[in-house]
């Protein structure tokens, strides 16, 4: 290595001068190094592979719910539990076999108790058969999966227009945070093929119709039913294409199901050191959410065939957009904040909501029932009820003390300022034990989107043991 004469001369001067006081100060850092025996090679290289991998945990949750009296629109579900307890065994297992073949299983068994339900009822046991599929890699970077697969898309946090397989997939939840809701959902029976190349990928998924659509409420079989009437009630197809272009990580999607076709696009881009901007759009021809909900209710027998469609409901099929635009910001103190705007063009307008509250309050019980049904339908589809809303979320990792995570989120209606909010604290007691506390509330006036819910607040405590 060549070094200039001046470099060597300067180095010589430094050496002749001897160690400076700065050096002694540098050595103070050594006093902070703990006196310890490092991990041995055997300890550190254990269980790092994925050839045989299991993730198993037990979860106990106890929830208390507070209720409102004098609802503007009476809820047809008069008997809801005030106290619920649930114990869950959650298992995810993966095995690699020869010739690029592997198997994945994801399942959850819930044992529930509610103060309005006898423990001997079959509905107190429910098994969520989330995933079970084989993966084959016939040639490098080409994958074929077959079975029940949880295929997820979308870059946003509070609302994912391009997550086309999200509909009717949610099962029991402890934490209402959208980032946690996805942890426990049903996959779709499908064949999925994907090809990856250096800076992109293409995928094709087809999920056949295996059962008639199951009703939305009341007769969920629970037990060990795989609930294919939720996830495979129609032939479903998704085509996706991802290609890195200018740090935007674009992903284009095409989805088709029965008489519905949707196009989708995901984009994300870093802005400076602390911000990620992202956007997610889907669009296609469809009727309004109310018209779709009522039609679904009639088709599955939950609503009478003579059920009226509210005058304000738009049953005409037209091109409608879903959009989530947002950004995340991370500060130096391990705080991350997300802010998103959600557009759901098929949702209720301000006038729709106001008129419906007014007519239901005037004593039209069938419309009241439909309002609650439409709400349940929107939640089941994981779509907003109204057209415009804001989503805010803040997360603080290692808050105050290490391993304590504090988070809060709010869905805020842009029509009336009402909100669904949750404050959460989770703490990792050790590598194997975690606990969480979740306090949620529906805030707003009696005739507001969120203030009209019968549940005013809830408190849930959770303990998890990982194995």
């Amino acid at each position: 290595m060549k070094r200039s004469p001046l470099f060597l001369m300067l180095a010589g001067i430094w050496m002749a001068a001897g160690p400076s006081p700065v050096i002694a100060q540098e050595d103070f850092d050594l006093d902070r190094i703990p006196d310890t025996q490092p991990a041995t090679s055997d300890e550190t290289s254990r269980d790092v592979g994925t050839a045989q991998q299991n993730k198993i945990f037990l979860e106990d949750a106890l929830g208390l719910t507070g209720r409102r009296n004098n609802l503007v629109v009476p809820s047809p579900s008069a008997h809801q539990p005030d106290v619920q307890a649930r114990s869950s065994l959650d298992v995810t297992a993966h095995r690699d076999w020869a010739d690029g073949l592997s198997a994945t299983l994801s399942d959850r068994l819930d044992l529930s108790w509610r103060n309005d339900l006898d423990v001997s009822s079959h509905r107190s046991i429910a098994n969520d058969f989330r995933e079970a599929y084989l993966t084959w890699e016939p040639v490098s970077q080409t994958y074929v999966e077959s079975g029940r697969v949880n295929l997820r898309n979308g870059s946003a946090l509070g609302f994912n227009p391009t997550d086309f397989f999200k509909t009717r997939s949610l099962v029991n939840q402890t934490n209402l945070d959208p980032s946690a809701l996805r942890n426990n959902r049903l996959g779709t029976f499908m064949v999925h093929a994907q090809r990856l190349w250096s800076d992109g990928s293409a995928g094709l998924a087809f999920g056949p119709k295996l059962a008639d659509a199951s009703p939305l409420t009341g007769t969920d079989p629970g037990g060990f039913d795989v609930r294919s009437g939720r996830t495979n009630a129609e032939d479903r197809m998704l085509v996706s294409l991802t290609q890195d272009i200018g740090d935007f990580s674009p992903q284009a999607l095409f989805y088709h199901e029965a008489d519905r076709t949707r196009w989708g696009l995901n984009l994300s881009h870093p802005v400076g050191q602390s911000i990620i901007a992202y956007g997610e759009w889907a669009g296609g021809r469809q009727a309004s959410g109310v018209a779709e909900a009522v039609a679904f209710g009639k088709r599955t027998g939950t609503l009478p065939t003579t059920a009226p469609v509210p005058a304000s409901a738009d049953s005409a099929v037209s091109f409608k957009n879903d959009l989530a635009l947002g950004a995340s910001w991370t500060g130096s103190e391990k705080v991350t904040v997300n802010a998103e705007y959600h557009l759901h063009q098929a949702g209720l307008s301000r006038r729709d909501l106001r008129d419906w509250f007014a007519s239901s309050a005037r004593g039209a019980p069938s419309l009241a029932n439909e309002l609650w049904y439409v709400r349940s339908f929107a939640a089941d589809q994981q779509n907003p009820l109204v057209r415009h809303q804001i989503f805010l979320r803040a997360d603080w990792t290692d808050a105050v003390i290490s391993h304590l995570e504090l988070s809060a989120f709010a869905f805020i209606s842009l029509y009336d300022g009402s909100s669904q909010t949750q404050l959460a604290a989770s703490y990792d007691l050790s590598d194997h034990w975690s606990m969480g506390l979740y306090a949620a509330a529906n805030l707003g006036g009696a005739q507001s989107e969120h203030g009209s819910f019968p549940q005013s607040a809830s408190l849930t405590m959770q303990v998890i043991r990982y194995f």
């Binding site: 400076s20 850092d29 550190t44």
Partner: protein, 250 residues
């Protein structure tokens, strides 16, 4: 003429300092794609508190000399299977429980133990402009005196994680001995000591890095690198859609 001479020799000196950093980078990082197991033991007040085990896949882009990393959590059990992709401006976090791939910012990269990888497999010569501060006899992590070049590294690309690094490289061997990493505001963030040099992947490399948190004076992380292997890592691995596909052989 004196000014011209100073300019010329100054440039030569800077180039030489840069060469030292390049040589030191080669000591830490093999020239071919590789994987290793990184065990991070966290100590608070000198007492062990946490252990995280990561499997790190690293590959240098020969044209840009930038390292790309795939980091997979093997322990603790609650984080098993989570992945972090670090590839220039492309940074993603993947959680197998939710199947969610979330794009993360450079600032988010600094949250979590995976961030400590940036004092391991990174080409400092690529992202920093080095200048010689002087030579010093410095005690290494085992309190052995080492004759070192003391260099000052200033961020020169947008990819640089730290604004400034003080770096001590042992004369002759070009082994890194110590680094001090600073934020944009000049705040000292972490201090790193490199030790336990062993022959791994065709070179003598530090298999242990001690990271002293300069913000929390009680916090020290010891990173132990084991199970070094050369590994074929295709381009297709460094993208969001590959993350659910990563399989780690025993």
């Amino acid at each position: 003429m004196v000014l011209a001479l100073l300019l010329v020799t100054g440039t030569a000196q800077a180039q030489t300092a840069q060469e030292l950093v390049t040589a030191s980078d080669a000591v830490r990082n093999p020239g071919h794609p590789f994987r290793l197991t990184n065990t991070l033991a966290e100590y608070v007040g000198g007492k062990p508190r946490d252990k995280v085990v990561l499997v790190v896949f690293a590959r240098e882009d020969k044209s840009t000399r930038q390292f790309s990393n795939l980091v997979r959590y093997a322990e603790p059990a609650r984080d098993q299977g989570k992945l972090v992709l670090l590839d220039g401006a492309k940074m993603w976090f993947y959680d197998p429980a939710s199947k969610a791939s979330i794009r993360i910012s450079p600032q988010q990269r600094l949250i979590g133990q995976a961030s400590n990888g940036d004092v391991v497999s990174v080409n400092l010569a690529r992202d920093y402009q080095a200048s010689l501060t002087g030579t010093e006899t410095l005690q290494d992590a085992d309190r052995q005196p080492r004759d070192c070049w003391h260099l000052d590294l200033a961020a020169s690309t947008a990819d640089a994680i730290y604004s400034r690094i003080e770096y001590w490289i042992e004369k002759g061997s070009n082994r890194p001995v110590k680094g001090k990493f600073y934020s944009d505001s000049g705040r000292l963030l972490k201090i790193a000591y490199y030790r336990k040099y062993e022959t791994q992947l065709e070179g003598v490399r530090p298999t242990e890095t001690i990271i002293i948190d300069a913000v929390d004076p009680n916090l020290v992380t010891i990173m132990t690198m084991t199970d070094y292997r050369f590994q074929d890592i295709p381009d297709a691995w460094f993208q969001r859609d590959f993350l659910p596909r990563l399989r780690v052989e025993e």
